[in-house]
């Protein structure tokens, strides 16, 4: 093997720790920006989704986190691309163009669907699951389980009958 030139050695000496540090940082940031705390608390706009998932078995007992449903788990490349894209979009929108209601994109629905199946493989192994309704089109309340606006969640019936 050709010996490394001193120049390169010098660069490597500098670069390796930097790359390592960067990798650790990215890794840390990736983790940090994938916590429930981060997703739910950083932006005001995310609070309803955060709060509405509190009282669901997924959060309460099973420690299933935002990322388990909302990030791709099958291949790293998709995960990184999706995370960068959606993170950038969320930051942009949050700053310049916050919407009144949040709606999932097709991409994100595909991701959620594959995550449902990932965990619940055995439950659905005997039924057909392609080309039909998505899991959460039947399980409409999972895990953001409420029908009312977060602000008016008291169940009432018209007071007078």
């Amino acid at each position: 093997m050709k010996p490394l030139s001193p120049r390169l050695k010098k660069w490597l000496l500098l670069a390796v720790p930097v790359i390592l540090a960067l990798a650790v940082f990215v890794r840390y940031e990736f983790e940090h920006t994938s916590t429930n705390q981060y997703c739910g608390y950083t932006c005001h706009i995310m609070r309803p989704a955060y709060e509405s998932s509190f009282h669901n078995v997924h959060r309460e007992e099973m420690n299933v986190n935002c990322r388990d449903c909302h990030l791709p788990e099958e291949n790293l490349a998709e995960t990184l691309v999706y995370k960068a894209y959606s993170g950038a979009r969320d930051y942009y929108k949050n700053t310049f163009d916050p919407p009144d209601v949040l709606r999932t994109t097709d991409w994100s629905r595909d991701i959620i669907q594959s995550n449902c199946i990932r965990c619940h493989q055995t439950v659905v192994e005997h039924i057909n699951i392609s080309g039909g309704k998505l899991c959460f089109e039947c399980h409409r309340g999972i895990p953001h389980g409420q029908w009312y606006q977060p602000f008016s969640s008291e169940k009432i019936y018209t007071p007078i009958r």
Binding site: P99, D100, R103, F151, S152, I156, Y157, P159, I160
Partner: protein, 425 residues
Amino acid sequence: QKAPTPPTTATIPAGEPDPAVWGKVYPDQYASYLKQKEMTKGNSKYGGSVPESHLKEAPVQVKLFAGYPFSEDYNEERGHVWALEDVTKTQRVGPKTISSCWNCKSPNVPPLIEKMGDSFWSTPFDQLKDQIKHPIACADCHDAQTNALKITRVTLLDALKTRGVDPAKLSRQEMRTMVCAQCHVEYYFRPEDKRVTYPWKYGLKMDDAEKLYEEINFKDWDHKESGAPMLKAQHPDYELFSTGVHAANGVACADCHMPYIKQGTSKISSHQIQSPLNSLSQSCQTCHKQSEQYLKDQVIGTQDQVFKTKVSLEKALSDAIDAINTASKNPNAKAEMMTQARTLHRKSQWRWDYISAENSMGFHSPKEALRVLGEGIDLARQAQLTANLAVGTAAGGTANPDAGKTPGAGTSVDAAGPGAAPKQQ
């Protein structure tokens, strides 16, 4: 329970009627309130905020209201800021109009009622004109000190008492409906003192109000063509809504008509109260994940169905009025049957008006709306039949003089006697 108020240093005097004063403390809500001045039709098909004439849209209404001021001037309603302009300009108001008509038009009303007591109601309308300065505004729904929602109309407090409901126990979500139920309800002037009263003694449904009106022998006017003692229904928005699937799920008026809107990074309740078809995303998509197009189609599709049935009933009513009118000019018409025909006219038109005067073209409770209209059609056609029989049998001199006494029970069988038809000749 109560709504948190944004902190502020300025204070609002108790009962302050002028929204501009409130606006200093709550500029965002005030700004959105003022947007009600815009008169948009937008996505709306049967509502919207353009004061178009209902009489021009459906001229048959002139006939249905014959003999009553609604046959002269009756427009699509618009935003709250227009309430004073509209009530003073309408040709339905005349020298005999009383102050009861002010009740739902201005925050100046509650103090006046407090001062004048029950003499308020029958005071001539014109006499109070100078003291009523602001159209519907903040003080109609809010407490100035706490900003909490508040029932300011004695008329609703009266009605709650009748129903045994303690207003102090209403939850915040319920209040988000009940502030609207102050005004968006069917009412009548109590005969003795003209106090505005909601006919809820027997319940909130169309049939319950009718039962009360029958009991007290109430009528709004005599129909000019048919001579029937008529009932006028007016905006039973809250009552019809109560029978629907949204009410059953605790959805409040404000959820759809005052949705939360973004104001910078925080949200406020939109105070541009209008057709939710013009705020589908904010009004509906928090609960319904479907597309705006789907939601719009559902609303308008439902309304089209109700409208179509309403038009059938208008046609049937028009026929019934003609039949009664013509028959009544025939001196041989059987009086008893004519009375019956008029009762049927009264009952069927009450049903029509209940849905027609309600403002959502049935969307607030589609099934109930269609049920009520179906009953109306049945009664209107029976009115037409009865009037025809009142003349027909009299003119024909049939064997059986009681012919047609029970329309709806096989009149022509009675007319001829079972299997006795040949005898008629």
